[in-house]
């Protein structure tokens, strides 16, 4: 009997889908088996990708083929990778700390530079530039409407930032409170945050509904296509 690969992969996908869907009823063996299978395959694939995509072509192969000078340059990441791998052993874990420290430092620097040049400054400038300072830039609805909209944007941005301000002082009665004007702005900011989170919730729900539609559609198409 010639079993096509599509049938095999389709059947596997169907079983996985049904198994994980069964969690809607309750935790069961089929769900756990499907979940563990998924985790195992994902981890195994990730390990092979890390080997073939980075460690072998960018580290080991150049080290084996390169000259002495290039080997000396590659010895550092090779040694660092070996130290990182020691993190998997409880006894040798401390040896890998310098390598993780290096990673942490480099990542921190990258994040800092990106946050400053990529978000903090451009977004702040955008909040300022949004104001229709010249005639004709307000677009539809007139200048007042544009000003109101942009003003509301600015108020929302600042009050949202104030909501996340956690600097507080100890009052006479021993309790810690934020300053009054911060509290007032935080209350306004909570309105904007609640609205934003509601929009995000709707987005996640819509994405989930799409996935539901896709999975049910696949199941129906597999079952209806099975006879053929």
């Amino acid at each position: 009997m010639n079993i096509s690969t599509d049938l095999v992969t389709g059947a596997a996908a169907f079983l996985i889908t049904v198994g994980i869907f069964s969690y809607a009823i309750g935790d069961n063996a089929l769900f756990r088996t499907a979940a563990h299978l998924f985790v195992g395959v994902s981890a195994g694939y990730l390990a092979s990708v890390a080997w073939w995509q980075v460690l072998w072509p960018d580290l080991l192969l150049p080290f084996l083929r390169a000259g002495i000078q290039e080997r000396a340059a590659l010895a550092v990441p090779l040694f660092g990778a070996a130290l990182i791998l020691m993190k998997s052993s409880p006894r040798l874990s401390r040896l890998g700390t310098p390598a993780t420290a290096f990673l942490a430092g480099v990542s921190a620097a990258v994040v800092i530079s990106g946050a400053i040049t990529g978000t903090l400054m451009p977004q702040s400038m955008a909040a300022i530039r949004a104001f229709p300072l010249t005639s004709g830039s307000e677009g539809e609805g007139g200048r007042l409407a544009a000003l109101f909209q942009v003003g509301l944007l600015l108020v929302g941005t600042i009050s949202t930032l104030a909501y996340f301000h956690f600097g507080a002082r100890t009052s006479v009665d021993g309790s810690s409170r934020r300053p009054a004007f911060i509290e007032a702005m935080a209350m306004v900011g909570s309105i904007f945050i609640a609205t934003t989170l509601g929009v995000l919730f709707a987005g996640v729900l819509s994405a989930a509904v799409v996935a539901l539609i896709d999975r049910i559609g696949f199941a129906i198409s597999f079952l209806t296509g099975l006879p053929s």
Binding site: A24, I25, G26, S42, Y45, L46, V49, A50, W52, Q53, V54, P57, D58, L103, V106, S107, V110, V111, G114, A115, T117, G118, T119, P122, Q123, M125, A126, A130, T196, V199, L200, A202, G203, V204, L205, S206, A207, V209, V210, A211, L212, I213, D214, R215, I216, G217, I220
Partner: protein, 767 residues
């Protein structure tokens, strides 16, 4: 290291030690015979030497002060006892001295000058505290040698008492003598060597001589022990380090005058479990204190009994020790028994009247110089370095030099010394060198003080806060429980069935009329227009930054745009992803666009594969795509890939198409490519869950287009007249949205009504 047991207390000691580090008893049966090379003392002096008079006067003064501070019910400590006995016997002692100087035999009934052991038992045998000692020869014992012998014979026979006094037996040299010698009061001076000789002669005489001749006259300077010489000279400062080769107590090795740099020597002298202690009054009760991880036990010295010979009140009072400087006291406290190490150079004024035990306070003035630098201000730094708990004093710097010591040993020493340096508030404590063999965790008794000394101010301010925090942490926050927990599962079943039934029904009912999606949003329209404007066959980078979970939605959203672009412009494609499954998902994405089916791997498109490191990898790729990804998914060189011809930087791409379900990844790509994209168009195709957080970047102009979820996908598909699954699923999608909204609205109305009803009826709203 070989060890031996102490014959008195049984403690294990290193083999090379001569004295037990716990009880101070000699570990070996005999000390090596000391050559006697003492000279005949000079003729008797007709008068009492001035130093002796000074010592007696000091003794009287201190005794008087101690008595004044004695409160009701306070037990007299050995210091006071010694002082009292000193005063009482002062006159008597002068008689024997006069007789000594006149060459007469001591009469029966005359008070015999106290032995060095007795002096130690009373507290501290300070410099100048013994009178009439002189070196003697084995052939012609001097006066002092003879009375020393006599005093030894009158020592208590009880081994416990003898061990308490630090004396193993009559054949051993008293510790305090050896201490004084090894401390090198006058090392390098003729007096030093003569003192050693005297000591040796004493040891030799102690072994066999039974009779003592008449005490001879006091010796000349060169025949007197160092401590005596110093007392005569007054406060002449510190003595040079000892140069004795005499194998005395091991604890005496390397002891020097107190300097900070010589701490190591001093501590080594204690065999790593003792430390020089400042002068402190002796306790009168046994107390067990907790200090750090070491339990220290203090035993008071035995009270004077009738069997003990009367002390020689020619000896200076122990409270003062006949000391003239803190350095003097420092030398005397080394390697003394515990109960002896508390004698104070200036402790009388620190006695607590209300305390029933001897107060313990290391006054700043009495700190040895090597401890002087370690004030509580250094504690925080030290404890930070050592990760020790804060709020206490510190001991030595963590830069203690002995590399052989384990960190635990150092910690024990440091904590012990911390107690000395800080000034312990609780006056019931009396530190004792830690017992190294049992570094047990602190075990507190109800009355015991804190394991580590804490600054009083810190205690007052921070302890209440700590109590409050502990109290808050112990009060469990009430868990919010759903009102009807049993109804949660049926609710989920109901919702699941509704969704599945509606979806399946719509899927199976293909005859429904399609719903036209709403017009695409402005960002999506702008994205489509910009991508249509790129040049033909220009390189296009596609970043597939989404998880397989949202593959369906993003494929529906991206396919119309991609299809339109590939069909119109036939760009060269490069695929990359920071997730392991991203390259495969990118391939899936292309498979959904019919226009991409003509693309050949290596010619029209190249899959650069996995980009590790997250933001770090994105930054590296933005600064050098080919350097960051030297090989593609098939392990071929990226630089040689035809689709990447003339592409060396990010700005060489005509357009960047970011397909993502994560606002964080979108932010990372936008941030790291800022200033590096040049004129390349950046369009983001985002899942509906990430689009709201990416929208500010479009509004600020950092991205050129934004396609948000299935709605924009379907709208673009309608506008571009392309093929895709978005329109096919659009009906079901809109119905699903309607159903979801209806469920939420119904639940919200229901709960609001219930809350209003509850308020109207006076119940708790919304509970």
């Amino acid at each position: 290291m070989a060890q031996m047991a102490c014959p008195v207390c049984g403690e294990r000691n290193p083999d090379h030690h001569a004295y037990c580090r716990v009880c101070g008893s000699a570990l070996h049966e005999k000390l090596p015979d000391a050559p006697s090379s003492v000279t005949e003392p000079a003729g008797p002096e007709p008068v009492i030497p001035q130093w002796l008079k000074d010592a007696l006067a000091m003794s009287d003064q201190v005794s008087g002060e101690a008595k004044e501070m004695e409160g009701p019910g306070r037990q007299a400590g050995p210091v006071e006892q010694a002082s009292a006995s000193d005063r009482g016997r002062g006159e008597e002692n002068l008689d024997w001295l006069r007789r000594l100087t006149q060459g007469a035999e001591p009469r029966a009934g005359d008070s015999v000058p106290p032995s060095p052991a007795e002096a130690r038992g009373e507290g501290q045998a300070g410099e100048g505290s013994e009178a009439g000692r002189t070196e003697t020869s084995s052939d012609q014992p001097t006066v002092l040698g003879k009375w020393l012998q006599r005093s030894r014979q009158t020592l208590p026979e009880d081994p416990a008492s003898r061990s308490e006094l630090g004396i193993e037996d009559a054949s051993t040299v008293p510790d305090w003598i050896g201490d004084l010698r090894a401390k090198g009061v006058a090392a390098g001076t003729p007096e030093s060597s003569s003192a050693e000789e005297w000591r040796r002669s004493e040891a030799g005489q102690a072994q066999g001589e039974a009779n003592l001749g008449a005490p001879g006259p006091l010796g000349q300077d060169e025949e007197l022990p160092e401590w005596l010489v110093r007392a005569m000279r007054g406060s002449e400062g510190t003595a040079p380090p000892p140069q004795s080769a005499q194998p005395g107590p091991a604890s005496m090795e390397g002891l020097t005058a107190g300097k900070a740099g010589e701490v190591q020597e001093s501590t080594r002298g204690f065999e790593r479990d003792e430390a020089p202690q400042p002068a402190r009054p002796l306790p009168t009760t046994t107390s067990t204190i907790e200090q750090g991880r070491v339990r220290r036990e203090v035993r008071p010295p035995p009270p004077q009994t009738a069997s003990e010979p009367a002390e020689d009140d020619s000896l200076p009072n122990i409270a003062t020790g006949g000391l003239h400087s803190p350095e003097d006291a420092e030398h005397l406290f080394i390697d003394l028994p515990d109960w002896l190490s508390g004698s104070a150079t200036a402790s009388a004024s620190s006695l607590d009247e209300s305390s029933t035990t001897e107060p313990l306070e290391a006054r700043p003035a009495s700190l040895p110089s090597w401890l002087e630098g370690m004030r509580p201000d250094d504690a925080a730094e030290l404890r930070t370095d050592l990760d020790l708990p804060t709020g206490g004093a510190s001991g030595f710097s963590a830069r203690e030099t002995d590399p052989d010591r384990s960190s635990e040993d150092r910690l024990i020493d440091l904590e012990f010394l911390a107690s000395l340096a800080s000034g312990i508030e609780d006056r019931d404590n009396f530190p004792r060198p830690p017992q190294r063999e049992a570094p047990a965790p602190p075990q507190r008794s109800p009355e015991s003080p804190p394991a580590t000394p804490v600054d009083a101010k810190v205690q007052r301010t921070e302890v209440p806060l700590l109590d409050q925090l502990l109290g808050e942490s112990q009060t469990a926050a009430p868990l919010l429980r759903p009102r009807h927990p049993a109804a949660v599962r049926p609710l989920r079943w109901l919702i699941a069935s509704a969704l599945v039934v509606v979806t399946a029904g719509m899927l199976l009912n293909a005859s429904q009329s399609p719903i036209v999606p709403a017009p695409a949003s402005e960002p999506a329209t702008q994205a489509l227009d910009l991508l249509r404007s790129i040049a033909d066959l220009s390189p296009l980078l596609i970043m597939a930054e989404y998880a397989p979970a949202r593959a369906a939605e993003l494929e529906m959203s991206a396919t119309p745009l991609l299809q339109d672009l590939l069909a119109r412009r036939h760009p060269r494609l490069a695929l990359v992803s920071t997730s392991a499954t991203g390259p495969l998902l990118a391939e899936r994405l292309l498979e959904g666009a019919p226009a991409a089916r003509g693309y050949q791997e290596g010619i029209d498109r190249v899959n650069l594969g996995y980009l590790p490191g997250g933001t770090l990898g994105i930054s590296a790729f933005a600064r050098g795509p080919l350097e960051a990804k030297p090989v593609d998914l098939t392990l071929q060189s990226s630089a040689d890939a035809q689709p990447l011809e003339n592409v060396t930087a990010l700005s060489d791409f005509a357009a960047l198409l970011l397909v993502t379900d994560s606002a964080d990844l979108a932010r990372a790509w936008i941030e790291q490519s800022t200033g590096l994209r040049g004129t390349a168009v950046l369009v983001v195709i985002a899942s509906a869950q990430a689009a709201p957080l990416i929208q500010p970047y479009f509004q600020s102009g950092q991205i050129d287009g934004l396609v948000s979820g299935m709605q924009d996908g379907a709208s673009l598909e309608t506008r571009s007249s392309g093929t895709g699954s978005a329109k096919a699923y659009w009906n079901i999608y809109t119905l699903g949205m309607l159903l979801s909204a209806a469920v939420l609205m119904g639940a919200a109305l229901w709960n609001v009504l219930r809350a209003l009803q509850g308020r109207a009826s006076g119940g708790a709203p919304g509970a």
